[in-house]
């Protein structure tokens, strides 16, 4: 999976978790919590969806890597290298 695809899948996951918000124009470098009503349970939803859909385990110590879309993409790219969207 290339970085653009990872970006798209992340935004799709977040949009499903926050169906009332518009996730089409997110600032990729701004912390997600600063631009969305994303609480700690929602954040765990992102982690769970990555686990369910792509078999990825994100350890709690790595949660800071998921702060922005771009930091998430950088973190997930090696983990998703051999997976398809």
């Amino acid at each position: 999976m290339v970085k653009k695809e990872i970006e798209e899948l992340l935004i799709e996951i977040i949009q499903d978790i926050l169906p009332d918000e518009d996730c089409s124009n997110l600032d990729l470098n701004l912390r997600l919590r600063e631009q969305l009503g994303l609480d700690s349970m929602d954040f765990l939803d992102i982690v769970m969806e990555l686990r369910k859909k792509y078999g990825i385990e994100v350890p709690e110590t790595d949660y800071p890597h998921l702060a922005t879309i771009n930091s998430s993409v950088d973190y997930l790219a090696p983990l998703l290298k051999n997976k398809t969207k």
Partner: protein, 415 residues
């Protein structure tokens, strides 16, 4: 009165959803026009079953994220509480939320969510790391009341009252007691149920030979009929706004009725079998607390589940309480099925308009009355117009032998 020295408690708002209506007007109209809310639904494992499903607008008071995070029980509670609040005309911005409380009766809570999680887990070979992190907040017993407190910003007490199928009355009673103790000034009290979303409740009633089955689902729930064969499981909710009379009068609130008596007792007898002696004592205690004579009760809204033992034992208990003359008697489950934790609260609500229109809604689906359930004043279609309804007694009984009765009185503004 509960006691002349104690505050009088009145109903000033009603919010409900039932399989036949999503507000009191719709609901009452359905009960007066013999409209059934029962249809067939498909459930995993148990297949096609009769059930009563509510069709209220879930988006009226919640957004998609709230619905995604919460439970059906929470959604029913939030809908009913908001409808009751609007109906009460309380000025919410000027209401002290710390003196408001939420007291909701439930038959059970968490079965639906647990069943869904186990189904989810089956997709992942039972690996518990896929178990949803929302499971605990969704299944703690206070969950439906808690969702409502969050939504309405209520900072007074919120909890549920687990009382099987006596829960709807129990929620009302809890609200009354909290008002009498001055713990709250406004009580959101009643009962709710999401049971119809649980396959387990259907399967268990079926294993108990207590699940109704009929070729026509609208005929399946038939309390007091000789051919009844069990319970129709339904969902629903009914939340009342209860206040002390003096507070209600100060704000010139519309008053539906006064709650003049109540009681709760236990059979101490069986997991599932009813016990008419204790049911009789429960009704007698409520009448005593109300300070009235049995002859003053005009209408009994029966629990009447549509099981042979349940129906016959309740009628026996009624006959032993009302020895001089029997009030009018009806039941609501023929229309909406058994709404479990909501039943007591919903069934009372269906009869409250009798104070205004002097009509008594009939029982539904009694084609051939069970001789053991025959009563002179059992109301069968059409609805019965009478001269005056002043006092209504509402029965609700539940598994493990919990009995409840609530007595309400027409409120006349100069008394």
């Amino acid at each position: 009165m509960i006691s002349e020295k104690k505050p009088r408690i009145v109903i000033t708002g009603i919010g409900l959803t039932a399989p036949v209506g999503n507000n009191l007007t719709e609901y009452r109209q359905a009960l007066l026009s013999e409209k059934s809310g029962i249809s067939n639904i498909e459930h995993r494992y148990v297949g096609s079953v009769h059930a009563g499903i509510c069709n209220f607008d879930t988006f009226k008071y919640q957004n998609r994220k709230e619905l995604r995070s919460g439970t059906r029980a929470g959604s029913i509670s939030i809908y009913c509480a908001n409808e009751a609040l609007i109906d009460s005309a309380l000025v919410w911005d000027r209401t002290d939320k710390s003196k408001c409380g939420i007291f909701l009766g439930i038959t059970e809570h968490g079965n639906v969510e647990t069943e869904n999680e186990i189904l989810n887990l089956q997709q992942f070979n039972g690996e518990t790391r896929f178990w949803n992190h929302y499971h605990n907040p969704r299944t703690v017993a206070n969950s439906p009341a808690g969702e409502t407190s969050i939504k309405l910003g209520i900072t007074g007490p919120h909890y549920t009252i687990g009382a099987a199928c006596a829960a709807g009355n129990s929620g009302i009673i809890q609200g009354v007691q909290q008002l009498l103790l001055h713990e709250v000034d406004v009580a959101f009290a009643g009962g709710i149920s999401e049971c119809a979303s649980s396959f387990g409740i259907f399967a268990s009633f079926k294993s108990q030979n207590a699940l109704a089955c009929h070729s026509d689902p609208t005929k399946a729930s038939r309390p007091f009929d000789i051919n009844r064969n069990g319970i129709v499981v339904s969902e629903g909710g009914c939340v009342y706004i209860l206040e002390r009379l003096e507070d209600a009068k100060k704000r010139d609130a519309k008053i539906y009725a006064e709650i003049i008596g109540y009681s709760l007792n236990s059979d101490a007898y069986s997991f599932v079998l009813p016990f008419p002696e204790r049911q009789k004592e429960c009704m007698q205690l409520a009448i005593k607390k109300a300070g009235i004579h049995p002859n003053e009760v005009d209408l009994i809204s029966t629990h009447a589940t549509g099981t042979k033992f349940g129906d016959i034992n309740e009628i026996e208990a009624i006959k032993n309480v009302f020895t001089d003359s029997c009030p009018f008697v009806n039941n609501t489950k023929g229309f909406i099925g058994h709404t479990m934790g909501a039943a007591g609260a919903l069934e009372l609500a269906g009869n409250i308009p009798s104070f205004a229109d002097n009509m008594i809604h009939p029982c539904m689906n009694i084609d051939n009355i069970d001789p053991k359930c025959r009563l002179d004043n059992l109301v069968i279609p059409p609805p019965y117009k009478t001269e005056n309804i002043n006092i209504i007694m509402n029965n609700s009984f539940g598994m493990l032998g919990i009995n409840s009765a609530v007595i309400i009185k027409r409120y006349i503004c100069n008394n």
